[in-house]
Symmetry: C2
Subunit: 379 residues, 2 copies
């Protein structure tokens, strides 16, 4: 059993399962989640956080596998932009994930020796959101005060607002897009091919041998990681510095610091992430095209939408550039929705939403405070 | 024997070899090259073309392995921007390459059964240029009328001008940079890791089993290919179109057109390119940092340089962005060199220099015509 499977994640079991968009019905569904803060008596102060591709529910606490800080503990906590002294914060591991929610590593027919693996049905962003809706319902929350997420998390926020307009008071899609671009699909395809090419992938049945396709998954992570950073951020971090200072010309080994950094990113990632989950979730992102469900007219996805929207993008994010957020803002304007849009000046690239960015923090805190006042949520 | 080795490329043999920057001396060196047009009596009308990472000497004729058109036949030929009715055009396969010049596939000690493989010494851009200089000398050309190249070819142009200032009348570095950026190193490292991860690479000794690390090299090519295109070009070419029209959700196979295109790019590439050459040449690019050889002051590389320079960049090229060309222009200005700079508006990305771009063609033709007049080269 690998490290991830050995952790007992807090979860709810839905014995009625979930009918997926692909036509398959999961007979039984597990949703693993973490929460922070206290749900008020009116159940009106809940914020759902949607995580990104390689994120999980451990938003603001030590990660049970890596031992690292929560991935958004700069943003979520007492006195933080998402203030857990005021709000009840929930984050669920996405459907298809590998941190406790039903996914490719889950037992197929209740037999823990036989995971779904590559037979796990294809999952969409909407499937992820529908799974989260069951969790939110089970927690007795009729309307979320806010749904917040960056990158693939932002896709879920958009899907939440479109699919459950009455259940979302405020929506904060960050560094995201209403569809995955050809370039983004292409980068993800490189990663998938690297996994497929790894002999330890064994056609997706790697669990049978106890191996993991570590090299392939590591390469996928390396390629993706470059897209999360800006050229400036890479240059500032590494420039052209050589490993171990000056070195002669040689062909092998890590020569530039940026290389060993990326290899480290790849090798630590494979210890916590399941390759089949990576395939499942990247596919969900690729398929995401919210307008396609509304005859190609994104504004129709938000017709008569009562939510307050705040779109946030970052100047140096080339994976989900400002233009992608602006297209969503235009659609929301066209639908006469209540929308603010802030482009944060940052040279940190797509990863900026995970990093220390005071302007971003102020924007998020300010928007939520304003909405909380309208919603009548006390301090 | 693979397809590439079976071709008898036109070449010169230098029995005195070449002392490389790394300290190793190649005892014997072969430089394969093609030429177009006629060298005039004064030997004053020669243009050297420097090819990019995956290019070769077959600039303007059918490729002997792929059967495709020459990679720059839009640019080089009778009446083309580089007019072979007027100029004698030479292009050599780079040192370290796999199309006839000495490289990892060459016999190590004259034994064709034992190629250098991964023991081939590391090569630098300057080594490539010094090999070309021996070819140019052997052809009896004292001064090249022009040295022209894009991408890694542009790096060679810069190195030519810096190393042999008296041998270059005009220099045209296109879509290039004076050093390889951290981001570019990072992308190339992903490709190298994909090759290393392929079990058919066999530690670089794949020739012994007759295999080639096709999956790893194919993934390297896929990843690189994305960086050669702009987001707009990918969107225009593929958008989010699905393979074979509408399809249901499924996990495997090519789902989006962009995926099968990239896989095709990868699989055709491996038939003509040697994996160890790919490693050697990408490393040469990563090491390139012209200013480093001049105490970090790029302008010193061009002190008192008599050449006429024309720098050309493309607006949508994010691999070698305009800013990288502009930095070279600033250094040339600082050195009081004769320099023009043109940024071509294009949405085709880095690959624009290989494609139909009338403004680029006019710029190149105009610059060369002006220089030819100064050089007294008749029509």
């Amino acid at each position: 059993m690998d490290a991830a499977s050995a952790v007992n994640h807090q979860h709810l079991v839905f014995e009625d399962g979930l009918a997926l968009e692909c036509g398959v019905t999961l007979a039984r569904m597990v949703v693993a989640y973490q929460s922070y803060g206290t749900l008020n008596a009116a159940k009106s102060n809940a914020i759902l956080i949607c995580h990104a591709l390689t994120g999980d529910q451990y938003v603001a606490e030590t990660h049970p596998i890596t031992g690292k800080r929560g991935w958004w503990d700069l943003v979520v906590g007492p006195g933080r932009p998402i203030d857990t002294d005021r709000f009840f914060v929930v984050c669920a591991n996405v459907l298809g994930g590998c941190m406790g929610s039903t996914g490719p590593r889950s037992p197929r027919d209740g037999n823990p020796e036989e995971p779904w693996g590559t037979d796990f049905p294809p999952i969409t962003i909407r499937d992820m959101v529908r799974a989260q809706k069951k969790l939110v319902d089970a927690l007795g929350i009729t309307r979320l005060f806010a749904v917040v997420g960056g990158s693939m998390g932002g896709m879920q926020v958009l899907e939440w607002a479109a699919t459950y307009p009455e259940a979302v008071f405020a929506a904060v899609p960050i560094a995201t897009a209403a569809y995955h671009s050809a370039q983004n699909i292409a980068f993800q395809e490189v990663g998938r091919q690297a996994i497929f090419a790894d002999p330890d992938w064994e056609g997706g049945r790697y669990w049978a041998s106890g191996k993991i396709p570590a090299r392939g998954l590591g390469i996928a992570r390396m390629a993706a990681h470059i897209t999360y950073l800006s050229e400036q951020a890479l240059t500032r971090k590494f420039g052209r510095r050589l490993q171990g200072g000056e070195g002669g010309l040689s062909m092998f080994g890590d020569i530039f610091e940026v290389e060993s950094y990326l290899q480290h990113q790849g090798s630590t990632f494979v210890r916590r992430f399941d390759a089949n989950s990576y395939l499942t979730i990247t596919r969900a992102m690729d398929w995401f095209d919210l307008a396609a469900d509304y005859d190609g007219d994104l504004s129709r996805a938000f017709a008569s939408n009562p939510a307050r929207f705040c779109l946030i993008s970052f100047t140096s994010d080339w994976l989900f550039p400002t233009a992608a957020s602006r297209a969503i803002v235009h659609a929301l304007n066209h639908a006469a929705a209540n929308v603010s849009f802030v482009e944060i000046t940052s040279d940190k690239g797509h990863d900026a939403f995970l990093l220390e960015e005071p302007d971003f923090f102020r924007t998020l805190a300010g928007f939520l405070a304003g909405c909380a006042e309208h919603a009548g949520i006390g301090r």
